[in-house]
Amino acid sequence: MTKILFSDKLDNCVERWKSAGLTVIGPVQRANISTYAAVEHAAELDFGLVLPDRSIKDLFFPQSEPMLRYTIKKESIDTDECLPPSGPRIIFGARPCDASGMAIDDPLFGWDYKDEYWFQRRNETVIVTIACTKADDFCMCTSLKMAPDSTKGSDIMLRPLAGNKGWLVEELTDRGREAFKTIADILQESSDPAAPLAVVEKKFDLDACVAWLQNPENFESRFWKEISMRCIGCASCTYLCPTCHCFDIQDEGDTYTGIRRKNWDSCSFALFTMHTSGHNPRSTQSARWRQRIMHKFNYFPGKFSVNSCSGCGRCSRQCPVDMGITETLQEISKLSL
């Protein structure tokens, strides 16, 4: 016997969590885009999406974050540190690739310096993930050795019952158990079986790709130029990616007073590694695309023993010129045969 949360009881849960002081966040369609946003009622949530256009990264690492306000005076500089808005939150209905993306980035944000903006939000947020029963052409979790029900990064895993009646509940962490204590009496015991998971075809051989990338001879391969000819160098693939984490620090204001912000940045941009001298070590789009692949599947795992990709497929789904990580790794797979 497992515990079940019936869909028609979800609104009661939302009420409970709200009364307990949690902000309830979930997948919604708003202003012609699907994203994760705060809701008042369960009816606002959309569980029919394969996955939202925007990832849950935005909730932990927003696109523009104030760090401090400053005023420069004759003798001194006044600063006023800005911390992220605090308060407990529950994300209900994350996808496994989004939840695991946050766990992939934890070591990065906690490596030499513990990023308090990231960890405060991580510690205050319960992630309730729903396993996927449908996938599209671009989903590729299985190619990254994950699955439509991977539990990495989740506090609770829900597996849908047949006929959208509800979800089987698996409590994974203390944080998850704590949040589900509030709704313990709403859950029911049942032996209903879970609906079949999405079938996600394996698209490339990850180990072969990684071996090819690690071979220093391939760094200057003609492959990079050929594969990235059509890349227009936007940041849509990095900004939608749940694991891309690059940022730039900018002062906004005049000479005397302003605000220091942490803004997203992307290795697709020509400006990304531009030196003040004007020299750019990655002066071509192909060098920038190589960086993107190398970082995700060679440098990042070299440092943190995990690939910087959860297989959500957004980079390919959204690319204006139909590129993406998938095609590149598929081609590398072929090269390494």
């Binding site: 202003a31 885009i33 256009d53 849509s236 997203w264 941009f269 020509a270 204006p320 139909d322 998938t326």
Partner: protein
């Protein structure tokens, strides 16, 4: 022979005879609905070219890639009428030499492909004149009217909600053939003219700057609108600005390669005392 086959044959002839060094066209994409830009430099590869109703992207922007045309060799490119207009503008703004561009013109009506006759940009002026007269599609017309009827406050809220979604990925700029500046105004940081932050104010600044820079230059190819990952209806802005420029200056962008850029030219007898 289908147009796809005709164009493959023509591409083969041009490449094998050395008349062009490259053909920029469409190839199969990652699923049946998608086509992707491809670059063919060898006559043996022309069979990779695809031409059907999924070939939508305006490919003219690739022509101004750094160094592509600097050897003065010719390049062929698949273009719809909007793309052909873009060639005129790029030539008028001295970004390329139209003599170097061999056009494979086509248009899509429903799911039918129509070949457009001609090779050099001058030969397509009839096609361009005919779109000048054309009206936007009915569904869009309704939306335009709805927005026109809004009060300034309502319209402001509409755009505020839309621009709040912007993440400053600059996909709109990168996808646009007219956004060819090697260093965009928003990337200039000595001084920093425009905030880099993508908060609502910064997003307004960016989108308004871009709308002005594209006024009288945009060909309404829709590349920016389709590229925007957060579905901001950029086409509404483009269309509104195009109407404005047409009404105020009788200027329709991209009619010829010698057309003067509307916001970069002036007349001594201008009735205005102030020129923006």
């Amino acid at each position: 022979m289908s147009i796809e086959e005709q164009y493959r044959t023509r591409a083969k002839e041009l490449l094998s005879g050395g008349a062009v060094k490259m053909v920029i066209g469409y190839g199969k994409g990652s699923n049946a609905k998608r086509r992707r830009p491809i670059f063919i430099s060898s006559a043996d590869e022309v069979d990779r070219l695809v031409l059907d109703d999924a070939c939508i992207t305006n490919l003219s922007g690739y022509l101004v890639s750094e160094g592509l045309l600097s050897d003065e060799k010719r390049v062929a490119v698949f273009l719809r009428p909007e793309g052909i207009r873009a060639i005129n503008i790029l030539a008028a703004e001295s970004q390329l030499d139209a003599e170097q561009i061999v056009i494979f013109g086509f248009d899509v009506a429903g799911n039918e492909i129509k070949a457009l006759k001609g090779i050099n940009v001058e030969e397509f002026s009839d096609v361009i004149d005919s779109i000048k007269e054309g009206a936007p599609e009915a569904a869009e017309e309704e939306l335009f009217e709805k927005i026109e009827k809004m009060s300034p406050q309502e319209r402001f809220s509409f755009w505020q909600e839309e621009f709040a979604k912007c993440i400053k990925c600059y996909a709109c700029r990168q996808a646009c053939p007219m956004c060819y500046c090697r260093r965009c105004i928003v990337d200039s940081n000595q001084p920093q003219w425009v905030n880099t932050s993508s908060h609502t104010l910064g997003n307004f600044e960016w989108n308004i700057v871009r709308a002005f820079h594209l006024s009288g230059r945009c060909v309404e190819c829709g590349n920016c609108d389709r590229a925007c990952p957060v579905n901001i209806p950029l086409r509404l802005i483009n269309h509104r600005m195009a109407e404005e420029v047409l009404g105020a200056f009788d200027h329709f962008a991209g009619t010829s390669k010698t057309q003067e850029p509307v916001l970069a030219s002036f007349k001594k007898d201008d009735s205005e005392t102030f020129i923006l």
